[in-house]
Assembly symmetry: C3
Homo-oligomer: 158 residues x 3
């Protein structure tokens, strides 16, 4: 198939990330070319949980990196999070239904060769260096995003 | 007109649903072909308020079905809800302006033949059976969504 | 370049507005034709802070106009706002990185001739008159939005 999807992943919430990664994996399995461009809160989805470079961070960047979840399974829901209760309920319902976790879908995306890009400006503002992100992630500009998106058949802002 | 719009309705909030359904109705009136794919919280927009099948639900699914609004007029705003006060104010402002309610726009969409689809995986996770949804709603997969969206002139994630 | 982008700006939050305006400015600099259609909370981005017409407003419209920020720099974040603390932190991190403010990006968009449109129905419901919006803003219908979006290469709902 000669079709292409581009997702701009702005949000850093469990449910929205799940939606984005399910769409991305399904599209890739159908033979579509898929790019996900992670910006702002979306960067929280592609941190390498085992790597944190505190030395090169300013005070604010260090606080930010430490107060946000390092593991994507710890991301909150966009609504009905109810201090974690709603999230726990969703996870239980997913497990009853044998639905893979967010981590599974993210690994699926990485293994399938879905293009993973991080927004350069967002990385600079939030103080994330390339080493702190998953190794498959490439850092690109808004200009690069637009070139990819304008040639896609589906563009979504999530 | 030979144009097509596809909306992925992820959110279950009054204001976002209003935006989606106003766009969908307007597009259909202009002669566009319109599909709305309801996923995650979006499923709360297409429940049949008169039907609830508690027997086939797991404990979590039963709690979820009961703690979420059965009637779309009871959905909260995405912001400034202020425990219902902001919502009430918006409704008053809409009434002053003789704007139809969310229910009116939903009925309009159903009557005009806008394609209404529910995400199969979301239904399974949240425990909604076909009988609990509006009868015009068809349950389809993410694969079906992508086929429809890739052939649309406008795709929106709301 | 003969490419076109259309952004439907539904949200009225600092971070989402920043994302939209960075994309819009970058696209325009690349030679793309860019339209932003401001609806619902998005109207809060294009108010003229120096103009408020209280006389023609109903009670609810007056309360709404006064309880929402008149200046875009006062808009909250979509998450981690933490009663303003998260917002202050983001602004500090932006300043450390010499990133322009939201106001700078908005002025950039206005100066570059990015098409700025306000949703007619949203203006009527919220009680904003043409005089209370930035002078570059044109008030158009959902019908107009759809015509522009269907002929765009990129459409985003933010």
């Amino acid at each position: 198939m000669n079709k292409k999807m581009n997702i701009l992943m702005f949000s850093g919430e469990y449910d929205k990330a799940l939606a984005a990664l399910i769409l991305a994996n399904t599209a890739k399995e159908m033979g579509m070319d898929v790019t996900i461009f992670f910006a702002f809160w979306g960067l929280l989805l592609i941190r390498d949980p085992s790597k944190m470079n505190e030395e090169d961070k300013s005070t604010y960047e260090r606080i930010f990196a430490n107060m946000t979840p390092k593991n994507i399974e710890d991301l909150p829901l966009s609504k009905m999070n109810l201090a974690g209760l709603g999230k726990k309920m969703l996870l239980e319902m997913m497990e009853e239904n044998h639905t893979p976790t967010l981590t599974d879908f993210l690994n699926g995306a990485l293994n399938k060769g879905i293009k993973m890009q991080a927004c350069k400006l967002s990385c600079e503002i939030m103080g994330f260096s390339k080493e702190e992100l998953l190794e498959q992630v490439e850092i690109v500009t808004a200009n690069d995003y637009l070139k990819d998106a304008m040639n896609s058949d589906i563009q979504l802002f999530i």
